[in-house]
């Protein structure tokens, strides 16, 4: 099975756009965090697709593993961000009893 790189890139672009769309339209903070994860996964897909394409052409700037290793680190970043984000959501929930983005309206001006 050989999926062409263009398709992977297109899928990644769609995922990224869905992430941005979800970020802009949803009010629930947990969904907003999930949208961010979607964007990070789009980056992962692009990294892996790019790595495969360059390896197929025999062009490897430094090491062919750069792409996959980067996506491993992106997963770490995503997990750490989700952990901190959820912890902060819990902290806000304890104060406000809500996970809606609109409930954060203390600071304005």
């Amino acid at each position: 099975m050989n999926v062409p790189t263009e398709h992977l890139l297109a899928l990644a672009a769609i995922l990224f756009s869905l992430g941005v769309l979800g970020f802009l339209t949803r009010k629930n903070l947990i969904i907003v965090l999930a949208s961010i994860e979607l964007m990070l996964n789009a980056a992962n897909l692009t990294f892996v697709a790019g790595s495969r394409a360059w390896a197929a052409e025999g062009v490897t700037g430094g090491s062919p593993l750069q792409g996959p290793i980067f996506s491993l680190f992106v997963i770490l970043v995503a997990a750490a961000e989700a952990a901190v984000g959820l912890a902060l959501i819990i902290a806000l929930y304890r104060l406000k009893q809500s996970v809606a983005l609109d409930s954060a309206g203390e600071l304005k001006g």
């Binding site: 890139l9 990644a12 990224f16 992430g19 941005v20 970020f23 903070l29 907003v32 965090l33 961010i36 964007m39 990070l40 789009a42 980056a43 992962n44 692009t46 990294f47 697709a49 790019g50 790595s51 394409a53 360059w54 062009v59 490897t60 700037g61 430094g62 090491s63 750069q66 792409g67 290793i69 980067f70 680190f73 992106v74 970043v77 750490a80 961000e81 901190v84 984000g85 902060l88 959501i89 902290a91 806000l92 104060l95 406000k96 983005l101 954060a104 203390e106 600071l107 304005k108 001006g109």
Partner: protein, 511 residues
């Protein structure tokens, strides 16, 4: 094996900071929330050791830096300049935390741990040519900052500030990572040097080649990455979080965000832009593209400073006003980057050094003032000038410097920036910046007026000698640097940074 151990010496300052962070964390656990001032002193000692190591490193480095194995960490004077900057701001912020009257004295060891963690992130962020390490450093800095912004768990404003910070920060991280992945897909490498100038047989395609072949994907990728940096330094389309986070976070944290975090963001931005598009570079085909990126940055700079200054005009809270003022200053610094010359980069670095003195001072005054009144609105400032003359006069010095008026370092920094921008053909930007300086005079003067020209409001006098002392020192430095005492060495340091930036394309290619 010996080679690896030797290379550990290159990242000795980072290793010291890491050890310090683990030590602080363990000690805090063992102390079980007793007086945290000792931990603050330990942090200061560790920072002093780090600073000393950095100075040693500065002396050992020539005009050209070195790289560790696989080109992951780049040690050069540009990075060391910003590391010294980070250590300096960290030290002052640590003192602020210890002297803050509104902060608990017990069980806040994590405060120092998170601050040290943020500076480790900043260290790696400013000293790498590799986008992987740059991203990891940026994330470490950001994650520590998110937690710091929400450090007062019981306060609604603090929790909300942290939440806004992480939501927008997550968005920018996603956008930037997607941009980096596109850059990787286009060039086949994560090394900025190779992206800028890929020699024959290096196994990568330079961005210039790709740009000639298909400009739109390159433009999208670069703009996405720049958006991530723009968020970090709060340049206008990505500045929404700044006022809210600065206002809600504990004031010492705000200080760190406004000074340390912002400088690290600018360092990474300058390195990114410098490696790919610096017009002093050798690759002629990228010059035209670099000019276009420079023009984009110039427009952003103009919008940023104007919007920041205009919004600052109508703020009632001193903290929020300083937040908008820091957005405006990001616009000024961006002028240096927009000029796309080594001269402009040096000017941006010098201005950041000037900004260090005056903004730390202004936020230090805010902490003092909050310690006295417990409020942060400008109206409560009434009569501060008569009750706390030393601190108030220091604040006047900082305000003059922030406006950019003569006897201070702020004036000199702006002068260099303007020269660099005019040399780069951005005279219109200089005119906008000059008009902005005049606008900023109004709101900075409002603070001074409130302190000196109005009747004092009755308040409980509260002695904070330590904080007052720091403010005095900063004010004296601000004036002396403006009068020329440190001007030349500081300028020399700033000039050597971009010179050492001349990228490692050949080094990277030979690997």
């Amino acid at each position: 094996m010996n080679a690896y151990i030797e290379q550990m010496g290159l990242i000795a300052p980072e290793l010291v900071l890491t050890a310090l962070s683990l030590f602080v964390l363990t000690w805090d656990l063992l102390k079980k929330g007793r007086n945290s001032d000792h931990i603050g002193y330990a942090t200061l000692v560790g920072l002093a050791v780090t600073g000393w190591l950095l100075l040693q490193q500065w002396g050992m480095l020539g005009d050209k830096g070195t790289q560790t194995a696989f080109g992951m960490v780049t040690i050069d004077r540009f990075g060391t300049f910003f590391k010294l900057f980070t250590v300096g701001s960290m030290a002052v912020v640590t003192l602020f935390v210890m002297l803050d009257k509104n902060e608990r004295k017990h069980g806040i060891g994590e405060y120092y741990f998170l601050l040290i963690g943020a500076s480790i992130g900043a260290f790696f962020m400013v000293s790498t040519n590799n986008l992987l390490l740059l991203m990891l450093g940026l994330e470490l800095l950001s994650l520590a900052s998110y937690s710091l912004a929400g450090f007062h768990k019981g306060s609604k404003r603090s929790a909300e500030a942290a939440l806004k910070y992480i939501v927008f920060g997550g968005l920018s991280a996603g956008v930037m990572l997607y941009g980096i992945s596109l850059l990787y897909g286009l060039t086949g490498t994560l090394d900025l040097g190779l992206m800028g100038h890929a020699p024959e047989g290096s196994g990568a395609v330079s961005l210039a080649t790709q740009f000639d072949a298909s400009p739109i994907p390159v433009a999208i990728a670069v703009v996405l990455v720049l958006a991530g940096f723009a968020y970090k330094v709060s340049v206008v389309p990505f500045h929404f979080w700044t006022p809210d986070v600065y206002e809600g976070a504990p004031t010492p944290v705000t200080t760190f965000l406004a000074v340390g975090s912002k400088a690290a963001g600018f360092a990474a931005l300058l390195r990114f832009v410098g490696a790919l598009f610096l017009t002093d570079g050798v690759d002629a085909s990228i010059v035209a593209y670099g000019d276009r990126i420079g023009f984009l940055l110039a427009i952003l700079a103009a919008i940023t400073m104007t919007l920041g200054n205009l919004s600052a005009l109508r703020q009632g809270s001193l903290k929020r006003m300083l937040a908008y003022s820091s957005i405006a200053h990001a616009g000024y610094v961006l002028m240096g980057a927009a000029s796309m010359t080594s001269e402009g980069f040096a000017a941006a670095m010098f201005y950041l050094a000037a900004y260090y003195c005056m903004n730390l001072g202004a936020f230090g005054f805010l902490i003092y003032f909050e310690g006295v009144t417990g409020k942060d609105d400008i109206d409560s400032l009434k009569g501060m000038g008569w009750r706390h003359p030393v601190v108030a006069w220091s604040m006047v010095v900082f305000l003059v410097a922030l406006t950019g008026l003569p006897p201070t370092v702020g004036f000199y920094g702006k002068l260099i920036l303007f020269y660099a921008a005019i040399d780069a053909g951005l005279a219109w930007l200089v005119i906008i910046a000059a008009i902005n300086s005049v606008i900023s005079l109004f709101y900075y003067f409002r603070v001074a007026k409130s302190m000196f020209l109005t009747e004092p409001v009755p308040q409980v006098p509260m002695r904070q000698h330590g904080l007052a002392g720091i403010l005095c020192v900063l004010a004296v430095v601000t004036v002396l640097a403006g009068l020329g005492a440190f001007k030349d060495p500081l300028r020399g340091w700033a000039d050597e940074g971009p010179a050492s930036l001349e990228i490692y394309a050949t080094d990277a290619g030979s690997r």
